[in-house]
């Protein structure tokens, strides 16, 4: 099963290598890893999506905890959370298909951020399901390339 771990780490050089190295070394399957600043400049938040059964996730969590610069780990898989990814997609488009593509963008609340004679670049945000659905819908037009961030997540409710 896919788990989402929200990991607070010290904002120090090398921490990404430590975390990525740990996953590679112990053979855990990282699906995505996003790291970025938080409201506190001394710490960063990593959102790690990892695939594995309960036993593996328990080991991943414990091994991560052993890294001195890892401060806190929450498995937010079961929690009410907001998950977001960002995608940029370049889709083949000419005068005859552009209109339809724009309609699709509207449905997915995506926006067109670049335009050329035979393609458009679309930007969309959302959870993984939505992004997948949009890609499926766009596929028949011809996806030239896309770039996708990993997932960032936050638990809902007051804190």
């Amino acid at each position: 099963m896919r788990h989402t771990l929200s990991v607070i780490v010290e904002n120090k050089p090398g921490i990404l290598t430590r975390v990525a190295g740990l996953f590679a070394r112990r053979g855990y399957n990282i699906e995505s890893l996003v790291v970025g600043e938080t409201e506190n400049p001394q710490v960063s938040r990593m959102t790690i999506v990892v695939d594995g059964d309960e036993k593996i996730i328990e080991q991943v969590t414990k091994q991560l905890h052993k890294l001195i610069e890892v401060i806190k780990i929450s498995d937010i898989t079961q929690e009410e959370s907001v998950h977001r990814e960002l995608i940029l997609v370049r889709v083949a488009a000419d005068a005859s298909t552009r209109g339809e593509i724009m309609q699709i963008c509207e449905i997915f609340r995506a926006s067109i951020v670049d335009l050329s004679r035979n393609s458009v670049m679309i930007q969309a945000t959302g959870d993984q399901k939505k992004i997948e659905a949009m890609l499926t819908t766009l596929r028949p037009f011809g996806i030239r390339e896309f770039a996708r961030t990993g997932r960032i997540s936050m638990v809902r409710g007051s804190k």
Binding site: V9, E10, G14, T17, R18, G21, R25, K55, E58, Q59, K62, Q63, H65, K66, L67, I68, E69, V70, I71, K72
Partner: protein, 555 residues
């Protein structure tokens, strides 16, 4: 004051009395500062020797050992020793010089990314970019290395940082360690402790499985009290040897791949296994699917990641072995376990440890050395058959006195480790059991030993073979022996002479005791070469994929 001087001041403040090291360009400032420091520098012959010596020192002194190397090849020569310390959870500080900050990343002369290389084999490591960080980094390094599950910490310092001027660290006011992500839990969970004691009370066939954690936590007295009060026999892993007196009736000795028959049978038949300071490593468990099948398992360890990693656990307890054992003792009543005691005694009687008596063997020599020196000597070993025979036949009674490379199985560990032990314990007897193969991996450290006038007692088993690998080929490769014959060995007598070491030779059974006594009476360093047969096997042995009760014994 410069960075190097500040570094030595901080080491001093952390109780460092000596450093094992080897100089080079990038650590010139440290070597310069050493001339004015009360810290002793022990010049080794190869950096790997420095790391193993720091390891031996740490184990005998009960505090972190420190080794020092220059950048590049100096640093990479430490790597085996760092990995070795990591696998055996030995507190160690490795200090390396680095090329100047401005040249880092340019493939400069003698540049290696040693923090990158040692990432998976250190508990933590640092690249220091500013001399002002040195006091905090050193303080943290000692804290991390010696608390929780101990381990090696590496500090890499570029040359310009060592040279840069900085404030003198305040000798009376050590920086307070505050690492948000590092708070080892030492107190076991009370309700889990209660659950464990309930299992002890209900058990009919309990066994204590003891590892190096008991020695690190200095919990042998508490372990002894628990075992004797509730009549629980004690089996140990290689790292746990000596944690419980092996001459005691409740001792089962070594368990696992080369464990005693009674230890392995007891574990296989147990209805309760209490593992303390162990990691259920594959050498200890054999095929884990067949391991202690009838037993509920209690696992006490300071490292939460070890619990449930290899074996399924019924009662997990994260904590310091000594603190948790003290809690056990508050709750555990005296118990007789008459039937189980009879069963154990019967196994010991009917399935004893054996070795052939019709010719000279390493086992006989080790047993004799045990009888002559037990309770007073420190014993280091190298890696191979002689190591396991030492574990089986010496019979250790003193916690921590068995100094061996367990987790990594590093040939060449023995001599430099023995040097470290003797440096920490100048007045004690230090014995090294080594093999012709292992000894030749680090024998240059004889130079270090002689330079420091160490009265080591070296016992070298010469079977002209890499015996342990030969044994593997015997069992797993249809006796096709490949690359295991030492067709050339030096004249060890001449080697001893070259280093000014008193040499003895044993080739007959009836000379064992008298020669050993003579050698041990010699006040300086001695080497006793023992001629043994390459065909001798380590028994008992549990083959790959087998359970502990499927052991093969000596006939």
């Amino acid at each position: 004051m410069n960075g190097a001087q500040a570094l030595l001041k901080c080491l001093e403040a952390n109780g460092v009395e000596m450093i094992f090291g080897y100089p080079g360009g990038s650590v010139l400032p440290i070597y310069d500062a050493l001339l004015d420091s009360p810290i002793r520098h022990i010049l080794v012959r190869c950096e790997q020797g420095a790391a193993h010596a720091a390891n031996g020192y740490a184990r005998a002194a009960g505090k972190p050992g420190v080794c020092l190397a220059t950048s590049g090849p100096g640093a990479t020569n430490l790597v085996t020793g760092i990995a070795n310390a990591y696998m055996d959870s030995i507190p160690m500080i490795a200090i390396t010089g680095q090329v100047p900050t401005s040249m880092v990343g340019t493939d400069a002369f003698q540049e290696v990314d040693i923090t990158g290389i040692t990432l998976p084999i250190t508990k933590h490591n640092y690249l220091v970019k500013d001399p002002a960080e040195i006091p905090r980094v050193v303080q943290e390094a000692f804290h991390i290395a010696s608390t929780g599950r101990p381990g090696p910490v590496l500090i890499d310092i570029p040359k310009d940082v060592l040279q840069a001027q900085c404030l003198c660290p305040d000798a009376d006011e050590k920086p307070v360690v505050d690492i948000k992500g590092y708070r080892p839990n030492v107190k076991g969970h009370p309700s889990q402790i209660k659950n464990a004691v309930k299992l002890i009370e209900a058990a009919k066939r309990p066994v204590l499985m003891i590892g190096g954690g008991i020695i690190h936590a200095q919990a042998s007295a508490e372990l002894f009290e628990l075992a004797t009060r509730a009549n629980i026999p004690v089996a140990t892993t290689l790292m746990g040897i000596g944690a419980f007196a092996e001459t005691h009736r409740l001792s089962l000795g070594l368990m696992g791949m080369h464990g005693t028959p009674y230890a392995n049978l007891a574990i296989s038949k147990a209805d309760l296994l209490i593992g303390i300071g162990v990691r259920f490593g594959d050498r200890a468990t054999g095929d884990v699917a067949k391991f202690a099948r009838d037993a509920k398992i209690v696992h006490v360890d300071i490292d939460p990641a070890e619990i449930g990693k290899n074996a399924d656990i019924d009662v997990p307890i994260v904590g310091d072995a000594r603190i948790v054992l003290k809690e056990f003792l508050k709750l555990t009543p005296p118990m007789e376990q008459t039937e189980w005691m009879d069963q154990i005694a019967a196994w010991k009687q009917n399935r004893p440890l054996k070795y052939r008596a019709d010719q000279l063997t390493a086992q006989q020599v080790i047993e004799t050395v045990g009888n002559l020196t037990r309770d007073k000597a420190w014993v280091a070993t190298d890696v191979g058959q002689h190591q396991i025979w030492t574990a089986l036949f010496y019979k250790f009674n003193r916690p921590g006195s068995f100094i061996t490379s367990a987790g990594l199985g590093t040939m060449g560990y023995g001599l430099p480790a023995a040097n470290g032990v003797q440096m920490a314990r100048p007045d004690d007897m230090v014995i090294l059991f080594t093999g012709d193969g292992s000894f030749q991996m680090q024998m240059q450290e004889l130079g270090t030993a002689r330079q420091e006038n160490l009265p080591l007692k070296i016992i070298l088993f010469n079977n002209h073979a890499l015996g342990m690998v030969r044994q593997l080929q015997h069992f797993y490769c249809g006796k096709r022996y490949s690359g295991v014959k030492m067709t050339f060995n030096p004249q060890f007598s001449s080697l001893a002479e070259a280093y000014g070491v008193q040499y003895y030779h044993i080739s007959r059974q009836d000379a064992v005791e008298s020669t050993l006594k003579e050698a041990f009476d010699h006040s300086g360093m001695v080497m006793v070469e023992v001629a043994v047969d390459e065909q001798e096997m380590v028994y008992p042995t549990v083959l790959g994929g087998k359970g502990l009760d499927e052991l093969i014994v000596c006939d």
